[in-house]
């Protein structure tokens, strides 16, 4: 009886290992697939980002500025740049404290 139960236990463990191994392989395949998909998505994202970087570069923006907004875009004076504080009940404007010479 003891022998039979030992043998059944070994058999069960072998079968269980086989099942686990199979499911692990399936999961590994899925991970590999997802990683491959991610890689192609990453390549797409990087290419689009590169395009965005190029189109939004200072060089290009100045070019667009000259073409479309010649008189509309003006350089901001630091004195006109304020800091907005959200005080829950109201918004508060404060001077930019970059330089505070007395």
């Amino acid at each position: 009886m003891k022998k039979i139960s030992m043998i059944s236990l070994i058999l069960f463990l072998i079968l269980f290992t086989a099942v686990i191994k199979n499911s692990t392989k399936r999961i590994e395949d899925k991970i590999f697939e997802s990683k491959e998909n991610l890689r192609s998505l990453k390549i797409n994202f990087e290419n689009i980002k590169l395009e965005h970087n190029y189109l939004s570069s200072a060089d290009k923006l100045l070019e667009f500025n000259e073409l479309y907004f010649e008189n509309k875009l003006v350089q901001k004076n630091i004195k006109n740049i304020k800091i907005i504080y959200n005080n829950k009940t109201q918004l508060k404007l404060e001077e930019n404290k970059f330089a505070h010479e007395k």
Binding site: E46, K49, A58, Q75, I78, A99, E101
Partner: protein, 561 residues
């Protein structure tokens, strides 16, 4: 009964294993069930060994990725502090043709003409006749690649390549450098980070800001034309942690073109160019004296002569109207040569040398790129001490000047200037007395904000700029030429220093038509450059640069500390 008993005994004997020693071998007898069990057991045993073997093998997907990338001559991208691309590696496909594999030449040419209608096919025909492999088209589009693959012609061979793209063109050429055709870095960060770039998966993040770099380069380029300079350089550094937000040297080059640059004028003027910068050194003399507690800003120097002679060579004041009695503070504000010599003499050779060494001006600097200049060895002595006190005869790089000023104004903490973003929790080492910053900062401010100062054209409203000008004649073999190096090292905001901006112009000339707008609130304009000094050239450039980059620094980087 006897016969019945004997029958039972026979049955019992049949269900038992019987081991008998034969003449030659062990004789094993099984019953049927045991035999089947044994076969199954063997099969399971073999399979379980196989399973254990399979289970022990680890499939490392990441390792596979690495191999793929290394096989493809992988090289990591480089981005700025805002994750904007400065260098990007992209895959490209070149199409080659193997004439020996062509089955039907006419059909192939018709198909290719259909896909590439604008290509000159007479040349292609000639090459096919030669019978050797040749590149039909380089860097083809994905669309054309698919069309070519659909032809299914074995003579068409796609070859995968890597291209290094520098989307900012010239903007970071002196920082990034170039690579050769074998994908090895030959200058700049491409060279110094070659190993990392080949082995790192993630992009390398730099401390520079693309927009600030653009604005500084744009202004420098504009003023190179106005003052007809040979070249120029600028470096913007965070005084607290040494992060370099911008490093521009002109003329520069487009790394996308992969040209071989032999012209010495394309030297990196910020890190490689070693120059005499003149009066900007007077700040070091005064700071050293404050550090040694030898003098105070209000210490008076009386009866200062207009000229001195040392080893037969005269030392004169640049401005003859300079008073004979000056305080230490006034000596720096009015950029007095004789006064600086007196401070230097009071300090002594050893202490000045030690101070300059501490702030990293005298020795070759350690930096992220290999293009770093070595200051010319300075032979100390009585007269050299006098000349070094006002920045004559002593050399360094603009990069080292920016670092030294940063240490002087940040409370005396040593910094390690860097182009590569690192963790912020770096232990700070104090190398100067804290009082040095407190004493020197108001003086630097007065150089810009008062009429006596030499840098009033940089007094941009709202940024509290301070700094020191330097006008030096360029040294030649055995003497000095008439050409000049005009420099200005600015610090802002003075009440809580955050940035140092060092600008230099190499051989500027005066411009008769340039119109200066005074920044003293008078709204006065002045046409033409009266003197070829830093106060009328580099200071004007610095003012214009800070006017442009100031709003970005004040908003985006106001919490930088």
């Amino acid at each position: 009964m006897k016969s019945k008993d004997s029958r039972i005994i026979i049955e019992n004997q049949q269900s038992d294993f019987l081991y008998q020693k034969s003449k030659s071998n062990l004789n094993i007898t099984f019953n049927r069930i045991s035999f089947i069990f044994f076969v199954f057991f063997i099969i399971f045993f073999i399979y379980s060994i196989h399973l254990i073997h399979l289970g022990s093998r680890k499939i490392n997907i990441e390792a596979i990725d690495d191999i793929v990338k290394i096989d493809k001559l992988y090289r990591a991208d480089i981005v700025d502090r805002n994750q904007e691309y400065l260098v990007k590696t992209i895959n490209s496909i070149d199409i080659g043709i193997s004439p020996t594999k062509i089955i039907d030449e006419k059909k192939l040419l018709i198909n290719l003409r259909f896909i590439f209608p604008n290509k000159d096919f007479s040349e292609v025909k000639k090459r096919i006749k030669k019978g050797k492999f040749f590149y039909f088209e380089k860097r083809i589009s994905e669309e054309n690649y698919e069309k070519l693959m659909q032809l299914g012609d074995k003579s068409i061979e796609p070859i995968e390549n890597l291209i290094r793209i520098y989307p900012q063109k010239n903007l970071f050429s002196h920082i990034l450098g170039q690579i050769d055709n074998d994908n090895n870095g030959i200058s700049g960060l491409e060279k110094s980070l070659d190993g990392d770039l080949k082995n790192t998966q993630d992009p390398i993040i730099l401390t520079v800001d693309k927009d600030i770099q653009f604005l500084i380069r744009d202004e420098l380029d504009k003023f190179n034309k106005i003052f007809k300079t040979k070249g120029s350089g600028a470096i913007l550094m965070n005084v607290t942690n040494g992060e370099i937000l911008s490093l521009v040297s002109l003329p520069d080059f487009d790394p996308n073109k992969r040209e071989k640059i032999n012209d010495l004028n394309y030297i990196n003027r910020v890190t490689k160019g070693v120059y005499e910068f003149g009066s900007v050194f007077k700040t070091f003399t005064l700071a050293a004296a404050f550090d040694e507690k030898i003098i105070e800003p209000k210490t008076e120097f009386l009866d200062l002569p207009k000229s001195l002679t040392c080893a037969g060579f005269p030392i004169r004041e640049y401005d003859n109207d300079i008073p004979s009695n000056l305080t230490a503070e006034q000596i720096l504000i009015r950029s007095g040569n004789i006064g600086s010599v007196r401070i230097g003499q009071k300090l002594g050779e050893e202490k000045l040398r030690l101070f300059l060494s501490k702030v990293g001006v005298l020795e070759k600097a350690n930096f992220d790129i290999e293009e770093v200049g070595k200051p010319i060895k300075f032979n100390w002595g009585k007269c050299p001490l006098a000349t070094a006190s006002f920045g004559h005869g002593i050399t360094t790089t603009l990069f080292q000047l920016a670092k030294a000023y940063s240490i002087i104004v940040n409370g005396g903490y040593d910094i390690d200037p860097s182009l590569i973003k690192r963790s912020l929790d770096i232990k700070r080492k104090k190398i100067l007395d804290e009082e040095v910053s407190k004493k020197i900062l108001p003086i630097l401010r007065k150089i810009v904000s008062t009429k006596e100062g030499t840098a009033s054209l940089a007094n941009v409203n709202g940024y509290e700029i301070g700094g020191k000008t330097g006008t030096a004649q360029k040294s030649t073999k055995g003497g000095y030429s008439k050409s000049k190096i005009n420099s200005f090292v600015s610090v802002f905001p003075i009440s809580s220093p955050k940035f140092v901006l060092a600008v230099m112009l190499d051989e500027p000339k005066t411009n008769e038509n340039y119109v200066y707008h005074y920044r003293d609130g008078s709204n006065l304009k002045y046409k033409g450059t009266p003197y070829n000094t830093a106060g009328w050239t580099t200071v004007e450039v610095t003012g214009k640069i800070i006017e442009k980059i100031g709003p970005i620094l004040a908003t985006k980087y106001s919490e930088i500390n």
